[in-house]
Symmetry: C2
Subunit: 232 residues, 2 copies
DNA sequence: GAGTTACGCTACGACCTGTAGCGAAAGCTC
DNA sequence: GAGCTTTCGCTACAGGTCGTAGCGTAACTC
């Protein structure tokens, strides 16, 4: 029902079903218009909407391509022209949700981290993401192309928050500047895996709520380890 | 090929397919022997072996019940008499692998944690666990019974390591004793989610190696946050 | 218009799921 | 041993999903 504005050409299309990501130099928006009838952007949006709806109602395992097509008011073949497999479709459908993640400046590293933890937890509470995220990650262990798609569509969107948060903390003097770029990257990756990993594990594996109390305790642990200022 | 010694009656059997866990008071080993032909323990073992083999070769998504039955030299119906669904079968098949996890006393909290991190990482490197773990967790988001099965078969086996490690660290004087049991449980859960979560996330989502360097950095971060002694 | 591509529709083969029904096998108790 | 009970392997099956092919039509460019 919500009309999306995205137009990100999600397709590897019918052209390179081989799976190589490469892309056929479609720079951004216009490219040079290929001949023939263009793909319906409305169909794209309808399919992704339908996928999210289906995820909520059916969950990952019972979601079928035929069902999504029907919900979207689209022929099944149209769906297959864009996404070769269910998992790729779902990655794209869920990816947008990660754009919600923001990192408003709350004044301290401690509060910034706590804020993002709770936000991320809220995102994982949604049935679409809860049921889909682990499933596609599981698939990706045997599919390099899917792994790359997840990285660019989901992981990188989260990682930028870590980079931003560190930058602010360094400006505040809460964290030291790294000596080498290598070390800087390593630290950021580590922190990212700790935060995202802990939240996901708590929410999905331990299946316990990520509430304020937990977020506070976790944040204290992390920031303490970072050697950051921990105000009483 | 490996003859297993387990005999853990994994079945909710054909009796309570409704899914309620409850169990029908089969205390431990002997119970009182029901009349009729007993279930073949050899078949149990063969099926679980075959499941692990199939996971290695095919991965989660392409593993089928029929295929497992064939590999195990067992009729498909025999398989369904024990496990109602693929995910339950896989949980049981993979669970044994988590028994490998040990926590030898390495002398310090820092080294204990680092050791278990590397062990856990090695376990996640195996294709059986890599492809299966996230998949069953994903399924469990919509299946309370499966969630419980995962908890008792996998999660609890890991969590005991945390409890043991903390106990040792407290005995060494590296960690303070918790004031209340509630706080103690909360801390253990937190630490568990941080360790397991970070390792899983690094290995499966970020898809980067959990090597010695990473383990050292992570451990330093965690132990530092715990307020433990961090020798230069 | 000519050319090209996307669309909806129908149909299809291949595969997987989970169950039913059968005769035979393997235990138990008397 | 006889009788009872449950499991086993086998075959067959209905129901559902996957992914593709072929067709006529729609949309867009030159």
């Amino acid at each position: 029902m919500i009309s999306l504005t995205i137009m990100r050409r999600a397709d590897d299309g019918p052209y390179l079903l081989t799976g190589m990501v490469a892309v056929m130099s479609t720079p951004a928006t216009p490219a040079h218009p290929r001949p023939g009838r263009p793909r319906s952007a409305a169909a794209d949006a309808a399919i992704l909407d339908a996928t999210r709806d289906a995820l909520v109602e059916l969950g990952w395992s019972k979601l079928t391509m035929g069902d999504v097509a029907q919900r979207a008011g689209v022929a099944k073949t149209t769906l297959y022209r864009r996404w070769a497999h269910k998992n790729e479709l779902v990655v794209d459908a869920v990816a947008v949700l990660f754009d919600e993640l923001q990192l408003p400046d709350r004044g301290s590293l401690l509060e910034d981290v706590q804020g993002v933890v709770l936000q991320f937890a809220a995102l994982l509470e949604r049935p679409e993401t809860k049921t889909a995220l682990m499933a596609v990650v599981a698939e990706s262990t045997r599919d390099a192309a899917l792994r790359e798609r997840i990285r660019s569509a989901i992981v990188d969107r989260q990682k930028r928050l870590v980079l931003l948060g560190r930058e602010r903390a360094q400006a505040r003097g809460e964290l030291p500047y790294e000596e080498s770029p290598v070390q800087a990257a390593r630290n950021a990756d580590l922190i990212f895996d700790v935060i995202a990993g802990a939240v996901v594990h708590r929410a999905l594996v331990s299946a316990e709520p990520v509430d304020e109390t937990w977020a506070r305790n976790f944040t204290a642990l992390l920031v303490g380890g970072l050697g950051g200022v921990t105000p009483a």
